[in-house]
Amino acid sequence: MWPSLRPAILLLAVNFAASSHAQAPAELHFCLHGEPKTFNPLLVDDEASENIRYLTGGVLIRVNRQTQALEPGLAESWRVSPDGRQITFQLRKGIYFSDGSRFSSEDVAYTMRLLMDPQTHSATGDAFRSGSGTVVVKTPSPYIAVVTFPAPVAGMERLFDQVAILSAKSPKKEQSVLGPYYVSEYKAGSYVLLRRNPNYWRHDAQGRQLPYIDTVRLDIQRNRDIEMMRFRRGELQLVNRVDAQQFDELKKENPAAARNAGTGLDGEELWFNQAASSTLPDFKKKWFQSTDFRRAVSLAINREDLARVVFAGYATPAFGPVSPSNQFWFNAKLPAPKHDPKAALALIAGAGFQLQNGTLKDSMGNRVEFTLITNSGNAAREKMATMIQQDLSDIGISVKVVTLDFPSLIERITRTFDYDACLLGLVNTDLDPNSQMTVWLSSGENHQWNPNQQTPATAWEAEIDQLMREETSLANEKLRKAKFDRVQEIVAEQQPFIYLVNKNALSAVSAQVIGASPVALNPQTFWNIDTLRLDPTQQIGSKQ
């Protein structure tokens, strides 16, 4: 009797073990890469909170992540006044918050007032701040809201994609939402559980209420290696921002799951400290302030190798602040980046530098050497720094690479200016360069190579200031683009930022998810979450 039962028991055990790995079919499971710092959509300033806002918040105007065009959200239609200061929204009727309270223009007024209140210190609100003065919101009817700004706001419509509307009257405050999901459970450090919003306003073509998926479980997982391991095991169904090396391995194992959405918005850049108030010796300041020096360094760096070796080919050499995937704002006429050490040496010889016995020396005989700082914990950046170290040693420049923890790094680049060169990455959430005003204006805090200038230190920086000011006051998008194109050209000539690569937007999608089409813009894989479906009959695990 026993021998015949044993295989049956074994089979049961195996089945049990297998099914204990299975998810409830109606639950989508993926990870946040950090702890969400806030559930208040107005205060969002980190990626994890932003993802939660995307999943729970209802917005007036939505930027379609795939087409990059504007779509009506809670507003059926809208009109921007010719002077760019006023926007009138025609709101959808018959929409309710997740707790049942009715949505009306009063909620829009409440949200905008709270957003623009200086005490709130909202980064999203600051993006609207084009001039001093209060923002006035009028509500002539429950379904019409008129927002008037003190000065024209460039790219105003797109900014509303980040404004999640709060309920003015609901006792539940931020927990009452208009998006596809609401936050049902939150265990700090562990997970966030979202459940479908029973009052979500969107329906599919057949009239069925969206979203299709009932619950979404977001685990808090910082470690990307562990996240990929869990994806391979079938525990997770989506992974955003997959690291290039891991993507390479995933592609070999399971090509259908590895999704390459092409060039992303994120880039890596290097800049030299040109601050006049820095404590660097004068001869170093002269090097860094010399355009020929910076252009020579740019010529000496082999961007193709960086893309090929560090990112396994899933990156393209970059030469400007805007990635080619930003269809409207990218300046296609910029020259392609070149790798030419000989031309670099020729250029730098013109500035008085000379190569002697493999060491580059300036006109006064000082050896050209500097330190490059970057943040610790980012393996790709450290590798890039090491490769740049070798590239520059080919033209006789000796580079020391120092990895610092983020706070010390930030202190050095924003306050003490005690550094030579810095390598950091850009994370662009906004397509419109207007949100980068403080980077381009010479008086800006984020004008990394020489911030907070009283007056522009160079003629080209003055020109950029002029162009950016003009650009921000124009309403016509084409005219704005022309101005910013010229800014990009100046940057390419002067190389204050030496752009290195644009990384590809890589993600992983399990076979259980139907309808996912990952894109370059955040949130890559789940931008269309309300129309995603789960197919529980698909095999769990990586092998198809």
Partner: protein, 274 residues
């Protein structure tokens, strides 16, 4: 005495953090959308303009009221964060230490009682191999095998404990009195349990404190690398982000625990030896 020491530890830690480079620099400052007011608000969160004695006073008075401050990085009250995460780490470290002590004591006593060369060498080989693995590698292995973190802590602490204990026991075993007892025909068991163990009791107890610190120390890389939401990971995040209130309070807790455990061990040891 315990309280004073713990407080001293916490305040020392606070001073270090406050004056270390990078204090008050937040990555939000790199967000180009922020207005000047918002940036000022972020900087004031860190209280960088506050003088140190003022901070001490504020912290101690807050402590007496049970308020440990608010974590700047995670934007939540420190007391709440510690309360949430302490049980997990306590369980992990507790079970890990227990497993390590049980394992090393049993193995140690066996090795001494039955000095078989094979047993001795295999014990040495095993512990040697385990000591030789960096804590980080053990953490990664455990993540890969999806084994509970407390076993990782046990694996890190057990070999060193065993080695220390083995040293002490062999030393005691080779004392003249043990030889004398053996020649007189006293049984090995009696020698071990009635003479050797009481002799090494005190130094072995001293190891309790050391092993607890080892375990806590191992908890940080183990939890950080396996993404386990305990106090180790919290401490690591706090250190990376210069979160003054959080790190001060964590140091306070750790000092209380370490000093407390050591005091207890000393007290028992001294009572036994007197």
């Amino acid at each position: 005495m315990l309280g004073v020491l713990a407080l001293l530890g916490a305040l020392l830690c606070a001073t270090m953090i406050r004056f270390a480079p990078g204090y008050g620099a937040d990555e939000r400052e790199l967000d180009s959308r922020l207005s000047q007011e918002s940036r000022d608000a972020i900087r004031s969160e860190y209280g960088a303009t506050e003088t140190l004695p003022h901070y001490y006073r504020r912290y101690v008075s807050g402590l007496l009221r049970g308020n440990l401050g608010t974590s700047v990085f995670l934007q939540r009250p420190v007391a709440q964060l510690l309360w949430e995460r302490a049980p997990l780490t306590a369980r992990t470290v507790g079970f890990g230490l227990l497993a390590a002590w049980i394992g090393s004591s049993i193995l140690g006593l066996l090795a001494i009682r039955f000095p078989n060369a094979m047993l001795n060498y295999s014990a040495m080989a095993l512990t040697g191999f385990l000591i030789a693995l960096p804590a980080a590698v053990i953490a990664l292995l455990f993540v890969f095998w999806r084994a509970p973190v407390f076993l990782g802590i046990a694996l890190v602490t057990f070999p060193k404990l065993y080695r220390y204990q083995h040293n002490l026991l062999t030393q005691a075993q080779s004392q003249p009195f043990a030889f004398a007892a053996r020649t007189r025909g006293v049984s090995e068991n009696r020698i071990l349990f009635r003479h050797v163990i009481p002799l090494v009791w005190a130094p072995v107890l001293a190891l309790v404190g050391v092993s607890s610190s080892m375990a806590f120390g191992a908890a940080i890389p183990l939890e950080a690398l396996s993404d386990s939401p305990g106090m180790g990971q919290l401490a690591w995040q706090a250190a990376l982000n210069r979160d003054l209130p959080l790190l001060t309070s964590i140091t306070l807790c750790v000092t209380v625990l370490t000093v407390g455990v050591n005091f207890l061990a000393d007290a028992i040891g001294q009572r036994k030896s007197s």
